[in-house]
Symmetry: C2
Subunit: 205 residues, 2 copies
């Protein structure tokens, strides 16, 4: 039986909680589709873990909002938008977990479901970094992926672990499995870079 | 009081229903954030209408799945993934409607909520097509936006109407307000094109 942590009030800025909930929930949708697309059970489990993280953030945020409103109706009015957006991100993360659960429950992707992945496939790609790739050993920020190719690395699988939403200072190493998100041309060019089939990002444009 | 249409079983392929639900739900998130970001009540109302469209699709899909399973447990097992993904897209569209309702209810965007829009702003942009723009009068497909700039037009406001997820054969006209989605550099360059500040897409790269 999993151990559930007792949620206690901790003073964390509401802004910080809300930004994390929003970012996590959007990322989770792409990770859940990736898990289904690549039939990756471990990645699906990561999504389920993130869902419980979002739930915890939602509790903390709700408590923070109650405290912040100080019993004042005016403050409550001002804060209702915040709690509404937070609840929406929570719903989105639930939806992502539902999709991930298809993978963990071995339900299998029905041919009808594959149809909806055609569009997802244009936007998400998996690439393994090769020894001779120009990106091997480089920091993500040095690659200037977002600016040059409109590409974003959303997850790295290194050995048995998944690094979700890696920091810009994180390096990519040979053997890393990267999940990237972006425009079709960009993610295709990046896959070629990672796999050592392309020596420079410029050659792809 | 709004008139609610009676939902009757219509034979529509499940695949078609599911693809439309998935596409609409993702689009709705971006439209809801756009409505909040640009404080656009009419766009928020469009999102609420789309939410009721997704609800109708969900009813039709559920009925279609019941019929398709023909009372056979094997078919039911095969189809459970489809109904799970459909339910997830329905949740996402509900979340989008919740965000849009902040705008229609005049709740106002609290400074804390603005913080989460900083990242949204990098991805969504609004541009008005000027008379002297090179794109004026052109079909969307002729602009090759997705391939060249990683940009997607998700909505067009023409006079009082919103055209959501326009067809590739749709033309853009002077005065049209476009909502675009894409990588920061791409949407910035496209805004310059639309506003006549840039004569060719190539100059931006």
């Amino acid at each position: 039986m999993p151990h559930f942590e007792r949620i206690r009030y901790k003073p964390i800025p509401v802004r910080e909680l809300l930004v994390e909930m929003k970012n996590l929930s959007e990322l989770m949708i792409d990770l859940a589709y990736s898990a289904a697309l690549f039939n990756d059970k471990e990645l699906a489990e990561v999504v389920l873990d993130l869902e419980s993280r979002v739930d915890t953030l939602a509790y903390l945020l709700d408590m923070e909002i109650m405290v912040a409103s100080r019993g004042d109706p005016k403050d409550a009015e001002a804060l209702i938008g915040v709690s509404t957006v937070a609840a929406a991100t929570d719903k989105i993360s639930d939806a992502a977990a539902d999709i991930a659960a298809i993978v963990t429950h071995n339900i299998g992707v029905h041919p009808i479901v594959s149809a909806i992945f055609e569009k997802v496939e244009e936007r998400l790609m998996k690439a393994t970094v090769k020894e001779d790739s120009v990106i091997a050993g480089k920091q993500i920020c040095a690659l200037e992926l977002a600016a040059r190719m409109g590409v974003d690395i959303i997850a790295i699988r290194r050995n048995k672990d998944w690094i979700i939403n890696p920091e810009e200072t994180e390096r990519v190493f040979p053997g890393d499995v990267l999940i990237t998100r972006g425009a079709p041309i960009g993610i295709k060019a990046f896959k070629d870079l990672a796999e050592g089939k392309l020596a420079k990002a410029e050659e792809s444009t």
